[in-house]
Symmetry: C2
Subunit: 378 residues, 2 copies
């Protein structure tokens, strides 16, 4: 492992606040802006890893909470880590589990030390702390470990947001102390603070003082209006160092990604392309299409005849409509695949737009095309 | 279309009653013994057509009943036929729908003309006759059309079996009259007669007198013991011409296929590899494995490290166990794929055994290996 590169970030180009960069990990590079498909329980639902890779995805997201409960972090370690377990060679970022255990509102108890909670699978008692979360992520062999944080709900009063932020910062310190530095691996801090500008600034500043390999913006994608999210990004990203990647957690729709890249974000994860795919919703350059709608029944055209993705190119919308109407598995597979490919196409287009200094034009044209189908109705 | 070959069957080798042959269709050859994956509603559940083709499958089975109801045979025709609709270039055989509509015991009425029934999807009334079934299959562009038949239940008294057989023969005559002969396309008759030897012989003889491109053995795989099924094959296949393919409908488990090839059968279809795959059952050379069983939780080995099938080779049994325990789509996909590949491997092994004149040894060794895991328990 002597030639494993250090975890790092190269900023290759900027255009306004938008950035084109490359994260270097021990398992390969991640071109940014990057979208990470979600593989919660050790699988991107319905997709073969080689299909995910063929979409252009360079990194997946896994989840410490789900994998800790089943099959168990130690078991995954015995299988050689999450990469070997799920047959994915590229880098993996793992969620710390904080968001998930704190979502178990009836089943959990939070204190300074961490969270005790009951498994959603079998009701068994568990404890999760900054130290145990980092250890679980080490057992999973995550290339990017996330600090254990508290993610307050939206809306959140300022004093509650401040209390939560302070706890998250103490947990970030403990997470960092627990994290074992190894070449090629990184630890990301998480900015909190609700939608209170000075709390976001304080959170970001104090995290940067601690020093992390990358910085996530957490506590968004929890129901806030897009304008509040965008404003929060505008006050947060300027506080973050330019030489570290910035990851907006849990966002979002295609236009949300464009909004966030425009405000200096480099990395994303979201269940939308996969979950929506299983529900019959296709994301396209021309906007969203609900393929279960009767208007697609006799549509002989594929989602994108020029795509390199078989799911987008080789099956008519009428056939996809038939699969969803018939409850056929292949519909879920094809539309998940199409959506993941579209998200990667979008990221590639944004990278090119930044490189070529035309991001604002790209973003304006993209928003206009995305808005059209909603006006036309569905 | 001037160079489309006539539908034909070449008998390439025999070993006892077992046959190695090749069906020629307008959309390519089918090496026999052949297994046809079931694609009831225009999709082999959970599988991409290219994955199915990569298993070695040369022909799929579709279903006139299901496709007639949804999306509709005329609609499929407007999409360019079932092949273009579902993105499968090879030959397709379609079930006539007889078996399905007659399974709707509470919803159907049978008379000389045909069957009136209510759709299992929306309760709408439909009529199906030998003529309409053949027309539906023509609209689907089936390479092999099946005559519309009545499939009696098991057990069935002799007089009832005789009545049903006579009706099926009259329907076969009408199906043949309705079938449009075209180069590369074939029509198969269906032998019925329950497990009554002289009725099977009579049914086969009278069908052969009418003349079809191939002959199916129907009315089995309906709950009869394997010994009765095998005996019925032994009295039936000698009546059938050697220069036409013989198709055993709806069978079966791996050992059932070996039993039937040993008795002169060339073609099969069955939902077992796909349906069992979705239920966590893997067919292997060493017998069946129920992957949901806890004994696979820490099994780091794949189903078959030497397989050319990614599903069999690239994922541990422990990972498959995890996917099934977690209700993950990918488990259904991978095990369906593995099972379809195993079935094709089995057919290829039987073809080689016939060619090399060692089918009896192959069959004996196969049965012994298949029986072992059941003795060991699971």
């Amino acid at each position: 492992m002597t030639d494993t590169p250090d975890f790092s970030f190269d900023l290759l180009a900027t255009d306004g606040a938008a950035r084109r960069g490359r994260v270097v990990t021990g398992r390969g590079p991640i071109d940014t802006p990057a979208f990470m498909p979600v593989g919660t329980a050790g699988t991107v639902k319905g997709m073969l890893p080689e299909q995910v890779a063929a979409t252009g995805a360079q990194i997946l997201l896994g989840n410490a909470y789900h994998l800790m409960l089943r099959p168990g972090a130690e078991r995954v370690a015995e299988f050689g880590g999450l990469h070997r377990f799920m047959n994915w060679d590229g880098p993996i970022l793992t969620d710390s589990g904080g968001y998930q255990v704190l979502s178990l509102t009836d089943l959990r108890k939070l204190d300074e030390n961490g969270v005790t909670f009951r498994s959603h699978i079998d009701g068994s008692y568990w404890e999760m702390t900054p130290e145990s979360s980092v250890e679980i992520q080490r057992l999973l062999d995550a290339d990017i470990t996330m600090v254990f944080d508290e993610c307050p709900p939206y809306p959140c009063e300022e004093d509650e947001a401040k209390r939560s932020l302070d706890l998250t910062l103490r947990w970030a310190e403990r997470s960092k102390a627990a994290f074992e530095n190894r070449p090629g691996y990184g630890l990301f801090g998480i900015v909190q603070g609700g939608v209170h500008d000075h709390l976001r600034e304080e959170s970001a500043r104090r995290l940067v003082e601690m020093g992390f390999h990358g910085y996530a913006v957490g506590g968004l994608a929890v129901g806030e209006p897009a304008a509040e999210r965008n404003h929060t990004l505008e006050v947060t990203t300027p506080v973050l160092p330019t030489d570290r990647p910035r990851y907006l957690m849990g966002v979002g729709k295609p236009v949300d990604l464009v909004d966030a890249v425009e405000r200096g974000i480099d990395m994303f994860d979201c269940v939308l392309p996969t979950r929506s795919g299983r529900r019959g919703l296709a994301f396209t350059w021309g906007g969203d299409l609900k393929l279960t709608n009767a208007r697609f029944r006799d549509d002989h055209e594929p989602l994108d005849p020029n795509s390199s993705c078989p799911a987008s190119r080789d099956y008519s919308k009428g056939y996809l409509h038939h699969l969803f109407r018939s409850g056929e598995l292949l519909g879920w597979v094809l539309l998940t695949w199409h959506n993941l490919h579209f998200y990667q196409e979008l990221m590639a287009a944004m990278r090119a737009a930044v490189e070529e200094g035309r991001f604002a034009d790209f973003a304006a044209a993209f928003r206009e095309r995305q808005a059209k189908p909603k006006q036309a109705g569905a």
